[in-house]
């Protein structure tokens, strides 16, 4: 596409960004509100941050969510990368169409359906083979790995398709066995996609309320579940404080990753192209 943005376009874009960011900005501002009312300003205070840090339940849930998200993202990157290689590099095989649908369907599947179906699976498995014995961190982890795998697969396979196949062919031609080709050539080239896939999976897992509510058990309460039960009781500045911390962490994380990726990109593809 072209390179001209009209002033109308700029105005529209600005309005779009105000729509996207104003609610978050308001949330942050009222996290410093002295008053317990989240919509009326009562003076500056950081007391809600203090209360947040003393909330044992909240901290415990946050730690639980963090552990699950870390493990789920890491496993999903492995499974998702394998799935992308199967999709992009393995050619045709029996059942590939079914495999492709199992990768794309979780992207749009309503969470209530995924949550319910996984719960019923875990119950049925516990009944027939006695595993998993109870529901808790493990079942949440399995559920998260499953839907995160689909997202990682989308991110990684798009990078894999862009990659020049002749690089892999050159490595094979020079005598490297398939697994070595993957670890020495493919993996380093698609590494940025693995990082963004991991970050995406981590965020999705950290963010999930619905699926976790279905498959969790006693003693495995995640952060979104605590937040949900707290906001059901009404607005609380403590949640605003939590939101501010999450926004801060997510923004730094994403911007750092983005900056790193851009630096790598500008270093490698800064070649002049095109005609006069």
């Amino acid at each position: 596409m072209g390179k001209k943005v009209s002033s109308l376009g700029k105005t529209y874009l600005t309005l779009g960004f105000i729509f996207l960011y104003l609610p978050i900005l308001i949330l942050i501002i009222f996290s410093f509100n002295e008053s317990k009312l989240v919509t009326v300003w009562g003076g500056f205070s950081t007391k809600w941050y203090g209360e947040l840090l003393n909330d044992k339940q909240m901290l415990g849930a946050a730690w639980m969510s963090f552990k699950i998200a870390f493990l789920a993202a890491s496993s999903a990157v492995v499974l998702g990368t394998m799935a992308s290689i199967v999709m992009v590099r393995m050619g045709k095989f029996k059942g590939k169409a079914a495999f492709a649908s199992m990768i794309t369907a979780p992207l749009v599947m309503p969470e209530v359906i995924t949550g319910l179906s996984l719960l019923l699976l875990f119950v049925a498995m516990a009944q027939t083979i006695g595993w998993p014995a109870g529901r808790g961190m493990l079942t949440i982890l399995i559920a998260h790995v499953t839907f995160c795998t689909a997202f990682v697969a989308v991110v990684v396979s798009s990078r894999l398709r862009e990659m020049d196949v002749s690089l892999e062919e050159a490595a094979r031609d020079l005598g490297a066995p398939p697994w070595k080709v993957f670890f020495l050539v493919t993996l380093p080239i698609i590494a940025p996609a693995l990082v963004s896939g991991w970050l995406l999976a981590f965020t999705l897992s950290l963010d999930d309320l619905v699926i976790a509510s279905f498959v969790s058990g006693p003693g495995s309460t995640t952060l979104p579940m605590v937040v949900y039960s707290s906001v059901r009781l009404g607005l609380s500045p403590k949640i605003n404080a939590l939101a501010t911390i999450i926004v801060l962490l997510a923004t730094t994380g994403v911007l750092t990753a983005w900056w790193l990726a851009r630096r790598v990109e500008t270093q490698s593809v800064n070649l002049p192209t095109g005609d006069s």
Binding site: G9, G16, V108, T149
Partner: protein
């Protein structure tokens, strides 16, 4: 097939089969059983008595869905709300994607980043933010009353309007992204050719840009529509008791009534309704994979 190839295929294949496909079979099975006050709270389809295996299929759950008009209304209003929200989203997102795709390449990435960035923070908390903005003594009403435009607060929270706002807000990036990808792929020389052949800018847009971005519009719409139909958090937090959506019904059936078989039947019917849009989306994804 070599051993290595087989194992690379089978690991993700088996995982997804066991944890994505098989669960639907079980939901399907349980939708035909009866609620029972036991653990687990449903009856078994197969019974072993008098050396005979008996299969009891109970269609009562499905019959129930169609007799109590709560369910039919919930399905219909879910589809209606999701469809309207998707269309609003498309109209809001298209110009954003268009302007970003036409921006100079240096700022393009940064603008796209700004669109995606909110999605990296908690979905729940972003919806929660709108509660404070939309409620009767919330920011919008306070502001309008302060300006003197209104003297009674306008009820916005716990209405369908709030649900539209929530869906558009939360799903906007999912609409912008495929549209942007699609518009970026659009060959600039096609636009120049249309203009060279005498089409003024608005006509270039209608005759070339718009038809060629159809795939992106379909993908984006499906990415918004399908999850919106089964959305729980948004109608629960913003829609109030008045707004009927099937995701909320399923949740209540499961957690409040503890009726797993009916919840399963609700899920199966929802899945059937979404089969066509999911297939559409899958076809687009598959085409993307090929190119």
């Amino acid at each position: 097939m070599s051993w290595g190839r087989k194992s690379v295929i089978s690991v993700p294949y088996l995982w997804l089969t066991l944890f994505f496909l098989v669960p639907f079979v079980i939901v399907f099975k349980i939708s035909f059983s009866e609620m029972d006050y036991a653990i687990p709270p449903y009856t078994d389809l197969f019974t072993w008595a008098d050396e005979q295996l008996t299969l009891t299929l109970n269609l009562g759950n499905y019959a129930y869905l169609f007799t109590d008009d709560l369910y039919i209304r919930a399905y219909l209003s879910s589809i209606r709300i999701a469809a309207i929200a998707t269309i609003i989203c498309l109209f809001v997102a298209y110009p954003i994607a268009y302007v970003i795709a036409r921006a100079p390449s240096a700022t393009r990435n940064a603008l796209l980043m700004l669109v995606i960035l909110p999605s990296w923070t908690s979905f729940l908390i972003r919806i929660y933010a709108w509660v404070g903005i939309l409620k009767n003594n919330g920011l919008i009403n306070n502001f309008l009353m302060w300006l003197g435009i209104i003297d009674q607060p306008i009820a916005m929270l716990n209405t369908e309007f709030a649900v539209y706002v929530g869906i558009v807000y939360a799903y906007l990036p999912f609409m912008v992204l495929p549209l942007y990808t699609n518009l970026m792929k659009l060959d600039n020389s096609l636009l120049e050719a249309a203009s060279d052949l005498g089409a003024p800018p608005w006509k270039v847009f209608l005759t070339v840009t718009l038809p060629l971005s159809k795939a992106g519009m379909i993908a984006g719409s499906m990415l918004v529509f399908i999850p919106s139909v089964g959305e729980f958090i948004i109608p629960d937090m913003l829609g109030g008791a008045e707004t009927l959506m099937i995701g909320k019904v399923l949740w209540q059936e499961f957690f409040n009534n503890r009726d797993w078989p009916v919840a399963s039947a609700v899920a199966i019917v929802m899945l059937l309704l979404l089969l066509l849009p999911i297939t559409l989306f899958h076809r687009y994804q598959a085409r993307e994979l090929e190119n």
